[in-house]
């Protein structure tokens, strides 16, 4: 059974359909890129994955569980902007990733020290330990997004949702961020959904690239029909499929028999 299961998903605002009949299955650990024209509903789809919104019809299940009613610790998220807390220092942002789930949103004593150590480990890993005591506003855009991703990961979500996480960065920084994200992901094996405007980025990072588009179109009423997934590319190995269909070895055959 698939890990994330999207079944017959519809979303409409008022009588404007945004998404219709979206079906997709995602295995644990897959990296899904989502691309599509501006305004076609990519962010809407992500918001539903996040359970920030509920679909008009259909369901999204993670690991076969009940559809979620609201965002929770299963789903980590990074937006293009405002993903970190401006009033917390870099380190405290990471501690928040561990403490917000408690009764008072704060840790004390040993738990606090552990969270701090944990945060410092993470900071070292993402190369932000030299700015641990600074506030996010004094960080560059790329550093802020690195922090945002680390903050989402430190809460150990089951899926990570990214909505154009690098959309506001300049090209050089973007490339660095790709490397950063790929390294992190190789390490954690996290299931990731990433919305992007940049096709190249989508193919470079994703295992699969989902394209959202309107399959039906009423010229008299552009809002009548919604978008759905029109293509589902396999982007592994430079987008050339079946590379792993190596001829079976004798061992495979004997095993199978």
């Amino acid at each position: 059974m698939s890990f994330v299961q999207v079944r017959d998903l519809w979303q409409a605002y008022g009588d404007r359909s945004i998404l219709e009949r979206v079906n997709v299955d995602v295995a644990e650990g897959e990296f899904i890129s989502i691309v599509g024209a501006s305004g076609c509903g990519k962010s809407t789809f992500l918001r539903m994955l996040l359970a920030e919104e509920r679909p008009t019809r259909g369901s999204i299940r993670i690991d076969g569980g009940e559809p979620a009613l609201e965002p929770n610790r299963e789903r980590g998220v990074v937006f293009q902007k405002y993903s970190v807390f401006p009033h917390l220092t870099v380190r405290d942002n990471l501690i928040a990733g561990q403490s917000f789930g408690t009764r008072w949103g704060a840790l004390f004593g040993g738990a606090k020290a552990a969270a701090r150590a944990n945060a410092d480990d993470m900071l070292a890993k993402i190369g932000l330990n030299h700015v641990a005591d600074q506030y996010p506003a004094s960080l560059s855009g790329g550093m802020q997004q690195r922090l945002a991703i680390a903050q989402a990961l430190i809460a150990k979500p089951r899926v990570l949702l990214l909505d154009e996480p690098f959309g506001a960065l300049d090209p050089g920084t973007r490339v660095q961020m790709h490397e950063f994200l790929q390294a992190l992901r190789d390490e954690t094996g996290m299931t990731v959904f990433m919305v992007t405007h940049d096709l190249e980025e989508g193919f470079k990072l994703g295992d699969r690239v989902l394209v959202f588009d309107k399959p039906r179109w009423d010229p008299h009423d552009p809002g009548a029909y919604g978008a759905t997934i029109t293509y589902d590319f396999d982007a592994r190995d430079g987008g050339i499929p079946f590379q792993h269909l190596n001829p079976p070895t004798t061992k495979d055959i004997t095993d199978a028999l």
Binding site: P71, Y82, P86, G97, F100, Q151
Partner: protein, 270 residues
């Protein structure tokens, strides 16, 4: 060169900043002189020297009967009222503002009500306040609270609503409950706004304080101004007005400093 590109040198800027004050002082001195030469007992525009003497006397000489220096007593009484009134308003508006800004149910129920409340003219309610809360300190403080809380509440609620939705969602994905979001996401970000709100509202707070003290009191800056009005002691009134202005300025400056100190993350971007 365009006027908008012409900048005064440092010395010039200092002189320019002082200029309006100097002009006013000179205009006053001339006006006072004209009136006083017509009627040496004129009380309307006392000579600057008279004001100075009066100010010195008010600040240093104790009252014959009570042995207190009235000006300091008045200042103390007024500042306490102002402080308590503003503090109470701050607590109420912070709580209500957070509740309205965060909880859709509270927003539906209270935002219209607060909007209407903020339109009620508090001065017109003064007689009711006196009867309900008595003539003592309470009614003066309540007038300040009624006067400035609705506005502050509306503004703070709006600021909570202005917190990027992304942050609230992010906090939820980190497992935060409504309470944690209020306490650890909304509250700290709203506090600097609370301070600038207090700074904005202090003008009105002074106003209400003076109005309340004028109506029923036996000590306080507003009381004294309205009392000495009975014998047109403009020297006293002017001294008190300047003193209140100075106090207001100092309080404002202190709050601005406090805000800078307490919320370093607001400046970090610069």
């Amino acid at each position: 060169m365009r006027l908008i590109n012409k900048t005064p040198a440092r010395a010039g800027a200092v002189f320019l900043a002082a200029l309006p004050f100097i002009v006013i002082a000179i205009a006053y001195a001339i006006g006072s002189d004209i009136r006083l030469s017509a009627n040496p007992q004129d009380k309307l525009l006392p000579a600057p020297s008279t004001i100075w003497d009066t100010a010195v006397r008010l600040f240093t000489e104790p009252d014959k009967r009570t042995r207190d220096i009235l000006l300091w007593k008045d200042t103390w009484a007024s500042l306490i009222r102002l402080g308590v009134g503003v503090a109470v308003s701050a607590v109420i508006s912070l709580t209500l503002g957070m509740v309205i800004g965060l909880l859709p149910y509270a927003r539906a129920g209270l935002s219209g009500f607060v909007a209407v409340l903020s339109m009620v003219p508090p001065l017109a309610l003064l007689p009711i306040l006196f009867i309900v809360f008595g003539l003592g300190e309470l009614s003066k403080i309540v007038l300040i609270v009624i006067g400035i809380t609705p506005f502050m509440t509306r503004d703070l609620a709006q600021r909570v609503l202005d917190i990027p939705r992304e942050q609230i969602v992010k906090a939820q994905t980190l497992g935060a409950s409504s309470g944690v979001i209020a306490l650890r996401v909304a509250l700290p970000q709203i506090l600097p706004r609370l301070i600038s709100n207090i700074r904005l509202s202090l003008g009105s707070a002074w106003l209400f304080l003076i109005a309340a003290e004028a109506v029923a009191s036996n000590v306080g800056l507003g009381y004294r101004i309205f009392l000495v009005r009975r014998y047109l002691a403009m020297d006293v009134i002017l001294t008190y007005v300047m003193w209140i202005t100075l106090l207001a300025f100092v309080i404002d400056w202190a709050l601005r400093r406090l805000s800078r100190r307490a919320f370093p993350w607001m400046e970090a971007g610069l």
